[in-house]
Symmetry: none
Subunit: 228 residues, 4 copies
């Protein structure tokens, strides 16, 4: 009603970019706490200190909003990893540093990427996003492995390489989940353990020391599918 004298600057009317970050912050927080479905747009808007229509205007649908969160957090994580490896390091060293950076990041933001990621895996609408993210990680890992191999003048089939890379990423994801659920765990130590179990295994494998199923006679491939 009255002309408001803006001696103390109220922080309304912020530029779009800032507002968007506030919203994303709130969204990440709420999605992490409640899960995708249990999170309500109301709570997110409230938490961002903004009205609901603004959220829709800036970030779109709930689904889009969730994806935006996933992207922002994913990007941050990727940057944390990229920032930890220098291109002049040996492939092994880069491997180790990436892993450590990854688990370090997850451990430091226990309500960020990993939680959203875990949730997204269970929900269909995000299948595409998830596949894309995982592909990116698999590529990086595969690249490192390939580098190592090439350095040793060894050749491994493309497919084989990808599968191994995939397995390693999967294992690491899983450990990341575990890390989120165990706040008392030390990321660095955890990284060491993973390096030991999985990556050493991979190294062995790629070095040629592979394992083969025993050729047992007469054993049937298990699980003849029972009736539905």
């Amino acid at each position: 009603m009255l002309a408001r004298v803006s001696s103390t600057p109220t922080f309304r009317r912020l530029p779009r970019a800032v507002r968007e970050q506030q919203m994303l912050d709130a969204a990440v927080k709420v999605f992490s706490r409640r899960g995708y479905h249990a999170a309500s747009m109301d709570e997110i808007a409230d938490d961002a200190g903004i009205s609901k229509p603004m959220v829709y205007a800036y970030l779109g649908t709930k689904e889009e909003l969730f994806i935006a969160c996933l992207h922002r957090e994913g990007t941050r994580m990727m940057q944390a990893i990229a920032g930890a490896v220098a291109p002049d390091l040996s492939a092994d060293e880069r491997l180790w540093r990436s892993l450590r950076a990854f688990l370090g990041f997850v451990g430091a933001h226990r309500d960020g990427w990993a939680v959203l990621y875990r949730q997204a895996r269970g929900e269909q609408p995000f299948a595409g996003e998830i596949a894309a993210m995982r592909s990116r990680m698999v590529e990086i890992v595969a690249g490192m492995l390939a580098h190592t191999l090439r350095a040793e003048c060894r050749e491994v089939a493309e497919t084989e390489l990808e599968v191994v890379a995939y397995a390693l990423v999967g294992a690491t994801e899983s450990v990341a989940d575990w890390l989120v659920d165990h706040p008392e765990a030390d990321p660095e130590q955890t990284a060491t353990r993973v390096m030991n179990v999985a990556w050493v295994g991979a190294a062995q494998l790629l070095a040629g020391t592979s394992w083969h199923p025993p050729t047992s006679q007469g054993e049937a491939p298990p699980d003849a599918p029972s009736a539905g």
Copy 2:
């Protein structure tokens, strides 16, 4: 409208046990297809060819129903594994067979256990169930590892053992997820790959060939937490 000729007996008014299985079948199917939240009790009831109140009467709440599904499928999976290993086999052999049985089972029921399990991991209400299931699997694996070790007269700290077991289980879970998403993949071959990557790594590790982080000078632990 028409006088129904009851040559084929109508399947109304079935005994409880039968109906419960029908319901669980339907529930597993729908939960897998749609995801926990998107699945509606209506669709489940319809799919089971029965009215909603029966579902509530027999299996309880949606949450309880989901847990019941998880249990049934989990139990079936465990049985598939148990049926694949004979107690007189060597620990190594049992390890391999368990893994193969597990991935075989997952591959054969791509809309069963693995999908439910994956969904449950993202939702808070099922945290307890998930933890319990994983514990059971970790125990089994740890038991096998311990057996192997003891056979070789080697000792490993209890904690270390558990962590390794956990990592292996996590990796395997993750590969199971992958298997579900890749219908063209061959479970047996996939099992071999996992055995190669992860379990060979574990073997190496337990054999003493462990890996240690390089003592690099001056490198800071990454990711000084940025502002929230």
Copy 3:
């Protein structure tokens, strides 16, 4: 399947009358505990140790069942009162004994008549029943008052008499409610108090010592109905 040897007589197949009483016992109990709506036919049947269709077969609809409860408890209460007054007593004495018997009964069965009655007053479907019960009580009271008056050779308009009787019954009902909610209260003492407050007032009134509104000038009857 097998012919059951009934050496120990199981108490199934009871005569109808007994079964009905069991059901009514259970119904009164559950209705009192939960209230009419919150009570479920399931719980009543369970509590009676009988299957639901039997309840319907014997006592009919939930509404009818509730009315049956109301009747049985009302009759018991009436009998308790009738048993307490001998016809050769003076009207005053009969009045006092009735009141005492009534509150005594209510106090002794705190989950019986009074609770059902109170619930019934709020729900439309029972309006008829309630009206009938109250009529019966009002009649009794009015009869006693009339007797007293006639003994004193005094005449009071029929209408006036009924209204006074009604007021007394209403007051007593209300105190009965209170008694149910105050288990520590002593029925006998409470009866004395009611006798003091209400019945003494009635006596005064009927004796001619009546009160008249002050003839104030210019005061408007309050509450000119507001909008709405």
Copy 4:
């Protein structure tokens, strides 16, 4: 479809306060007509000319809505009473005017306070509210009685006073119920009758003319509790 000529302004999008009153109006109406349980939120929303979610947004749960109705009507009634008594009147006069105002109010809004109150008495969830309301009324009455007594330099035990006040309030409530059920009755006349019966009784009592149970020989306190 047609261009709506907005000569008469459509009453959509009203300010919150207005809508809340509309909703409460509708709620009181429907609760009175149907009873608490039989009333559906749908009907209330319809009757208020608004969608259900608005009702939940503004007034909360069905239970909360009912309590809000009870409060609004209770407050209105209290105000009607307060507006009828001037502080400079004698205690007797204030007593009479309060009673008249109360019954006048009840009579003028036969689907308002009294009906809700009667319903609330039967349902557990509202026990607290009811107790609070009655307490307030008992206090007022007790205050008036105390004033009268003090004016006559008489002393009565605190407890006794409260009980008498309670009895009077109970009696009045009950008569209010009756009034609601007898639309043809005249509130003013009814008030006079109550004043005669109950309050004159109280006056007698407090004046010392009390009644005592006859010391009859050999009569047992009735109703030795039967089984069950």
